[in-house]
Amino acid sequence: MIKEYRDFSMGKGTNLPDENMPDKMLKDALNVYWDAGLKKRHGYKEVYDQESGAIVGHHFVEMEGYGVAIIAVLVTTTVKFYSNYSGTMTEIDASFTWTGASVEIGFASLGEKTVLVDKSAGNIPAVIYYDGGMKICTLDSYDVRTIDTPFWFAGQYDYGATNEYIDDTTDAQDAGTDDYSLATTIAKDGFWVASASKFSKVLLTECDKFDGSPDAAYTYYNGTELTTLTVATPAVWTDDKGDKYMEFAIPSDWAVWDGDDAVDSNASTVTGSMKGNYVIRVSFTTAPDSAMDCDKLTVSLTEAVTQALSGEKPTAVCVHNSKVWLASGNSINYSDYGKVTGWQPYLFEYFSDGGAQINAMVSLGDYLCLVKDNALGGIYGTTQENFTVKTVATKGTGNGNSCAVVKGVLFYQSAGIIWVFINGYLLNISKHISDRIQDSGYGIEYNGYWYYVTAGRILLVDPDTIIRDDLGDGMAAFWEWSINAATS
């Protein structure tokens, strides 16, 4: 009798006794895969050496016709961002860094723009893009909203007057030279700005160089009183004449003004100038030696994303249906169609099942899959009018990094098990190889396989080999590759 054994397409099954192992399965296999024969894997090679620090994120994106590598490098508690667009790995902008000792970066690209989140929730999201060179900035800075003139007002603060708030919106908004008064020589006089929507930056065009030693007090209205406004970037009043700006973080208790409106030069109330608006006031407690002006103001919101996310720092990012999705806690916010901008407080969904935090998001066919510790959720639909959220499975994972979609199948690892979510069914496909599964690995779609990379080994699974067993669980061909011990 002659027996031949030529089909080993079911990978390795280290947990199964020989009697229960299919003939196509191997007792052991290392550094091979199945392709009409057992073939040795290709080699590994170092392709970049940062020389110091830890690479805490890397990503590749097509930009300007090139494949560009982006890496994030953690040095002590500072994260720096590099790209090799120029041919060598170069820091994109030395003035832009993140901070934190345990930062890990999540990336997602929409077109040539890449959005970054800090999975440790220590930094607000950023965007990397090309504009005559590689650029990086906060998503807030990239999505600045200049407030249209019909929606904001401004004028002078006359401390000694009966009506302290004088409307001068026309001069604040037109281009007339030196026609908007910022300060007089009287202490505590100044100016105010009011807007129907919250704002965080005021640009003063052609602002005079203040003489003397002016000292400005910044206040906002908190619903009860005018209270101190912390201005992170105040205008430097004594600088030479030119454009100056002041920028501040929006206070959480900023309330609309419920006092009187401003008055015009005839002491007549200018209805709607202040009442119902968000108001800030700049009062020069030490006045300059002479009156100071500027040409005009420009009022803008430079925290649109932060405001849309209610101040939360997202920990997961995904591109699905040509929108960027950001998850923080149980909330999911999304951008305009085809853009990384357009974030609004009302453009969000919520998924409360399965844990306190969304650990990963993946685009899975026609819906966005939300991965939590103990559930998978799905956001179905294409616009805010028809989005629906529902639970699609009752097992999830805390290892969001392990999630990847391969040939329409979602793979992830949880508590020593490899799960697949396929056509609405959740299957444990790893009972026969559970002793080889390590925690905290990274799941990758590559070349039609799901790669699960851990510190000790690499496991490969071909989704085309997934089958269901008699007990309702699954089985698939697993292959194991060694990881370069010298560099792992």
Partner: protein, 143 residues
């Protein structure tokens, strides 16, 4: 560890390849057509089958001849095991020749005769390696 799929590192062998970060380095784990690491360190590949019993796990067998169908990579270490690995017969296949498929014949001593058998083959060279299968000629003994 994170992943990328397209690069501009100036090396076409890592276009659309698997690249992971390890410490302060990036490594391509599926590099070009080479079967070793950047300094030609060998990547050992191993294949071991389960114990086969030709349908009768308690039936003793006389094994006459074993063949491994492999490519001509050279320096294979082959082991035939008997009785759930209780006995073994190691063979070194120094080199193949000819086309893509190479058939190595091995005669088997009587001590390997057992009710079950399995195969293990290892290659510790820098060459491309393919295992196409194993063949075995056997006879059932009296039960």
């Amino acid at each position: 560890m994170v992943y990328g799929s397209s690069t501009k590192f100036g090396d076409t062998k890592i276009q659309n390849k698997l690249v992971v970060s390890q410490g302060f380095k990036l490594h391509c784990l599926d590099y070009g057509t080479q079967y070793f690491d950047g300094t030609t360190t060998v990547i050992t590949c191993t294949v071991e089958t389960k114990s086969y019993d030709a349908g009768k796990s308690t039936q003793g067998k006389i094994i006459r001849r074993v063949k491994a169908l492999i490519n001509a990579a050279g320096s294979w270490a082959f082991i035939l095991y008997g009785k759930w690995k209780a006995t073994d017969m190691p063979v070194t296949i120094t080199s193949g020749s000819g086309g893509a498929h190479y058939e190595e014949d091995m005669s088997v001593p009587y001590k390997i005769d057992q009710s079950s058998y399995s195969f293990k083959i290892t290659n510790a060279t820098v060459n491309e390696c393919v295992v196409y299968g194993f063949g075995i000629e056997l006879f059932n003994r009296r039960f």
